[in-house]
Assembly symmetry: C2
């Protein structure tokens, strides 16, 4: 059965750390909405497994983070696609809403 989630309503910010909303989890993909207050960071990390992920900026701006302190500007409408095994992260310059899709889920 199809389901709709209003991320701008249900996705919460948190002064003490990233707001995280598990949007969906199935054998096909896991979808997570992260809501970062300005200055908050999802630190660079990776997992040594098969699969890929997309990181879509829904609102606000900041940076995509990668290995060796790499940074790419990230603004609403930008999407980053990477192997799950590649180092990845993101940092918010303004309040920023992010949608991450992982396939297959870890």
């Amino acid at each position: 059965m199809a389901k709709k989630i209003a991320l701008f309503k249900e996705g919460r910010f948190n002064d003490k750390g990233l707001g995280k909303l598990l949007v969906h989890d199935s054998p096909y993909f896991r979808i997570i909405n992260f809501n970062l207050k300005a200055g908050q960071t999802m630190p660079v990390h990776n997992h040594d497994v098969e699969g890929q992920l997309s990181v879509t900026i829904l609102e606000g701006n900041g940076f995509f983070l990668g290995a060796d302190d790499a940074e790419l500007p990230a603004a609403a409408g930008d999407i980053l696609i990477a192997d799950i095994a590649e180092p990845h992260g993101f940092r918010a310059e303004t309040d920023m809403r992010v949608l991450v899709t992982i396939a297959p889920p870890l």
Copy 2:
């Protein structure tokens, strides 16, 4: 190798039909950006295969469409998740940018 795509720049609208940008295609997922002028529609359709899809509204508003003329309001930040086998579509009320992720790809 990670790649970044600026959808608000690379995703084009088309007066004669939906603007379609294939963002990514891999064994894990296919990601497509549709850009609809106000009034344009992705008609309700489905595919009789395993898997699920997400439909995320990046900008603008309109409706998610389903079986039996079902309509759900769709605005920026809204996401719909459905089985690929379920009837799905969308219609733009204003110019609307949509991101569709299909896992696994058809």
